[in-house]
């Protein structure tokens, strides 16, 4: 083995063309030669950028989602990387240890991915379709509301409340989710209603 020769050729210090030639002889295609022997390929090239806001704390750092595929073009988008948005006035591109690892949350192996049902006394989950799940929930709500709705209190005052159903709303969700949830819960008269403000 002639290390000296390899050494010279490897780095191609005479010029890029020479390097490519030598590297080609060593089994590299000319195009990838520089990267293969030098820095890692830049993984964000040709990714779709999307502006988002970190889902964790209330600093609400600006983030950029880098995805393979463009949702706007009706493609499937796979999240490849998340980085702080340098244009954001609050975080100026920085992110904390949680924000820096957001991709791992989005792509966690323990994401819930399909509706599941656990029967009374059961030890296992069963798969259930969305429609069947919705039907079951709606029936349970209707029956319980009809059975337990309080239209008037003991003094005969109109109170129109329902206390045997309760709802915890997600403080990690958007305003819009919150508003639709609010409308739904309030219109049914459910009073046990809370969010993470206390915990």
């Amino acid at each position: 083995m002639n290390i000296d020769l390899t050494r010279r050729g490897f780095f191609g210090l005479a010029g890029a063309g020479a390097a490519a030639t030598t590297l080609g002889a060593l089994g590299f295609g000319a195009a990838e030669a520089a990267e293969a022997v030098n820095v890692r390929a830049f993984k964000l090239t040709s990714m779709t950028e999307t502006r988002n806001i970190c889902t964790y704390c209330s600093v609400a750092c600006g983030i950029i989602l880098y995805s393979k595929g463009d949702l706007a073009a009706s493609e499937t988008a796979e999240l490849i990387h998340v980085e702080g948005d340098a244009d954001h006035p609050t975080n100026r591109g920085t992110l904390c240890p949680k924000g820096s690892a957001l991709k791992g949350f989005v792509r966690s192996e323990t994401r819930a991915t399909k509706p599941r049902y656990r029967a009374p006394g059961g030890t296992e989950w069963q798969d259930i379709t969305w429609d069947a799940a919705f039907d079951k929930i709606a029936r349970a709500l209707k029956d319980d509301r009809d059975a337990n709705f309080i239209a008037k209190n003991d003094q005969g005052q109109v109170v129109n409340r329902w206390l045997t159903a309760g709802f915890l709303a997600a403080s990690g969700g958007s305003n819009e989710t919150g508003w639709l949830t609010y409308k739904t819960v309030r219109s049914m008269g459910i009073l046990p209603f809370d969010n993470q403000a206390r915990v």
Binding site: A60, G104, K142
Partner: protein, 813 residues
């Protein structure tokens, strides 16, 4: 937050007490480091533990968990005694001069009017002396012994440095040094900011902790100023938004409240919410409540809400108790009084106190529906996971549905940060598997229930059948449709009240701001404080101009802040009585002679004359309240109260236990350790670590690697006393449960001396459970007491009693 994250850079002194900003909000804390580097600002940390915030502080002092009121009242006493008072501010912008009724008083740790059986005070006397025209009497000379200032002076008299340090365990020299540093910020051109979080709220007297700081900031003249304020660093990304929209048992959107049983009709309801000003010429902005309320009812029920039916007033449920918070609900659930329960992006099995009670309660439900992007412990509460979830699945009869939802990366929408900025975000990833947006799920559930009522009739179907649901796809309303609905629009042409020829909004147009809302049914708005967020000019929350012409960090063209795009609340108080900035180098707004102008949206009517209209426009008084008139259930001033579980008796009244006005359910007091209980000699406090976000990031392998395993932190002294080795296993137990953890033995926690006793602190972080990528573990909620704050029932997670011993392994003695 009264101010914004980016405003922290304008401060001279940061006090982090009741929080741990560097760890919980690292990127917001950046602005503390900027203030230090660029302005020479100083950072004080007061915390039971020497935290990572303390590691970059200029001055640190330890404090016993649950003794903050004594500390704060002591600082107020010190400031008054040493003349560290911003007098022009106090005299003009606070209620210092207001005269209080003769019946108000305090003795032996209690205010007047206490009823031990009801655990409540009669607040009648906690009020001003009312004179002519229904206005409060005042004594601008502050000589009347019944003026708020003199009552405050008398109230804080007991909080001598000796009393304070005896109760808090803070070394006296450190306490006094901090008093001095704080006192410097009484100068009109020196400003302190307070950054706090759950370290102040999660106590049985959480609201009074915060009032203590608010009062101090009023005395120093620091509210409304750039670099000042009282800044609640909120937890979740949209906890501010969900609170704004009112997803709480007793709230309507925009901080209006739900009626109670006795408010049987709309006029009765509005009679206590009219908020007539208590001083002449003051704004008392809540006088506009009818406009916001009617616009809300129109947004909910459209044409079914009319003047004739009191805007569908009966459609709203009425409250027979102050609220159905989580503690009350889970207490009801434990008694078998709740059948159906929904946990949307929420993990109560790990979040709520006394996990044994939580498990028992969930086991009594007929149906639990969990909507979450992650597979949570709550969804699996029925599943046996060794000692980490030791349940008998067969005995649990609860039906459980786990519905997979999208997460932030997979949906559009707005979240509201701690500084009240509504920031729009865009989706950039395809949801995994069959995960669906919460909006799809809520719509599908609601529409099916609606269909059932339409087909079958049933209990009071009207509010369900008439709920406005005019979305293009009724099964999946879009974020854009929902955001526009919250902003609100004109239902008929809205004219300028001062000029009837001037149209403010044509029928069908989005309203430009909340001043356009009407109480005659001609406007609708889901959440009045969000009016202006999506106008005819488009989505204001999506704005991305990060220029900052004033250099004050206000960024008025970046997204949208409520109210009215204002970035610093009470900013009128950043100027003196004549309208000149206290510190011209930190000008936010000023009075030009004709109007208010500056780098922020003035928090006052643009033409309100400075000597006439006072800055605190949301209060009836027009000024900030050193004395809280019937505001808080546990007193107009904060008074020292011990936690429900405490190593020492309350020195003001040894017979008092915890907060005398806090609600306690049957059976829970019996599950608490006695005062000074020798079986539970250590004070425990729970907290978050910077490497994790609640119970979410343990599903993330990187974060799981950064803090893989449950641990507790103790001092070297306690470790030596108990024979605990660094990195060894320990068992920690309270009257309610036990956990096993690894021991982090540190110099950063030191034993304190309180009331002559050595008090050890055990720190218990809360990020572990039995799902996800991190190691299985426990959380503090296996140990914490089931009791909350007297005013809002935030659970007392920050101060309770435990014992600790070395263990040979997890689950072993």
């Amino acid at each position: 937050m009264t101010n914004a994250w980016t405003d922290i850079r304008n401060t001279d002194l940061v006090i982090v007490m009741g929080g741990n900003a560097a760890e919980a909000h690292p990127c917001g804390f950046k602005w503390v480091t900027v203030a230090k580097a660029e302005r020479g600002a100083k950072l004080i940390v007061v915390d039971p533990r020497y935290t990572r915030t303390a590691s970059v502080s200029d001055y640190y002092a330890p404090i016993r968990p649950g003794s903050d009121i004594a500390f704060l009242m002591g600082v107020i006493r010190w400031c008054i005694e040493n003349g560290k008072v911003q007098w022009d501010y106090v005299k003009n912008y606070t209620n210092a001069a207001f005269l209080v009724r003769d019946g108000f008083g305090w003795a032996d740790g209690l205010f007047n009017g206490y009823d031990a059986e009801k655990r409540a005070f009669d607040m009648t006397e906690w009020d001003y002396q009312i004179g002519e025209g229904g206005f409060a009497k005042t004594d601008p000379t502050l000589t009347d012994p019944r003026c708020v200032w003199n009552l405050l002076k008398a109230h804080v008299e007991v909080y001598t440095p000796e009393f304070v340090t005896n109760v808090t365990g803070t070394p006296k020299d450190r306490y006094l040094k901090i008093c001095e540093l704080i006192g410097e910020c009484s100068a009109p051109d020196k400003v302190m900011t307070s950054l706090y979080a759950l370290g102040w709220t999660q106590h049985s007297k959480g609201a009074q902790n915060i009032r203590g700081m608010a009062m101090l900031q009023l005395i120093l003249g620091n509210i409304g100023l750039a670099g000042g304020g009282v800044n609640a660093l909120r937890g979740h990304s949209n906890i501010q938004g969900l609170t704004d929209i009112g997803l709480l048992s007793n709230m309507l959107p925009g901080y209006m409240t739900l009626p109670k049983d006795s408010e049987t009709d709309y006029p009765t309801y509005m009679s206590t919410r009219g908020n007539a000003p208590l001083r002449p010429g003051q704004t008392s902005y809540w006088q506009n409540t009818p406009k916001f309320f009617v616009s809300f009812m129109k947004s909910m029920w459209g044409d079914a809400a009319t003047a004739d039916n009191d805007w569908a007033y009966d459609y709203l449920p009425k409250l027979d108790v102050p609220y159905y918070d989580i503690l009350r609900t889970f207490d009801m659930m434990a008694e078998g009084k709740v059948n159906l329960y929904f946990a949307q992006g929420f993990n109560p099995l790990l979040s709520f106190p006394n996990r044994g009670k939580v498990t028992a309660a969930l086991s009594k439900l007929k149906m639990l529906v969990v909507m979450d992007p992650l597979t949570t412990e709550t969804a699996h509460f029925w599943e046996h996971h060794g000692i980490h979830n030791d349940v008998d699945s067969a005995a649990i009869q609860t039906e459980v549905l786990q519905l997979p939802t999208t997460c932030f990366a997979e949906e559009d929408g707005a979240t509201v940060n701690s500084g009240r900025w509504l920031q729009w975000h865009w989706k950039g990833a395809t949801p995994p598997g069959e995960a669906k947006p919460d909006t799809f799920i809520m719509a599908n559930i609601f529409r099916r229930v609606q269909d059932l009522y339409r087909a079958e009739g049933g209990a009071f179907p009207d509010p369900i059948l008439n709920l406005t649901w005019d979305y293009a796809d009724p099964m999946e309303p879009t974020p854009e449709e929902l955001a526009k609905e919250m902003n609100g629009r004109a239902l008929a042409t809205v004219y300028d009240p001062k000029d009837a020829t001037k149209v403010i909004a044509e029928a069908g147009q989005q309203v430009p701001n909340f001043a356009a809302l009407r109480d005659d049914g001609s406007t609708m708005s889901g959440c009045w404080i969000y009016a202006g967020s999506w106008t005819e000019a488009g989505n204001m929350m999506a704005r991305r101009d990060n220029s900052d012409p004033g250099g004050m960090g206000t960024y008025l063209n970046w997204t949208f802040a409520w109210p009215a795009n204002r970035r610093i609340l009470y900013n009128r108080a950043s100027t003196d009585l004549s309208g000149k900035p206290w510190d011209p180098s930190r000008k936010l707004i000023e009075w030009t002679g004709e109007k208010w102008e500056g780098f922020d949206v003035p928090d006052i009517s643009p033409t309100a004359k400075p000597e006439e209209v006072m800055p605190f426009i949301m209060t009836n008084e027009g000024v900030g309240k050193l004395f809280s008139r019937k505001g808080l259930k546990d007193g107009p001033f904060p008074t020292h109260m011990e936690p429900f579980e405490s190593p020492i008796a309350n020195p003001l009244n040894p017979g008092l236990r915890g907060n005398p006005a806090a609600r306690v359910f049957k059976g829970d007091l019996e599950q608490m350790a006695a005062t000074g209980d020798p079986d539970f000699p250590c004070v425990a406090t729970s907290y978050r670590l910077t490497e994790h976000f609640h119970y979410w990031t343990k599903h993330d392998k990187v974060n799981a690697a950064l803090q893989p395993q449950f641990f507790v932190e103790i001092s070297e002294e306690l470790a030596a006393e108990k024979g605990i080795a660094r990195g060894g296993w320990v068992r920690v137990w309270s009257r309610r449960g036990e956990v096993w953890a690894k021991a982090v033995v540190t110099k950063r926690i030191r034993p304190l001396t309180c009331d002559g006793k050595t008090v050890h602190v055990v720190g218990i972080p809360l990020h572990w459970g039995f799902m996800g990528a991190a190691r299985k573990g426990f959380g503090p909620n296996s140990l914490t007491p089931f009791v909350g704050d007297a005013n809002i029932d935030t659970p007392e997670f920050k101060a309770f009693l435990v014992n600790i011993e070395p263990a040979s392994g997890e689950g072993m003695a």
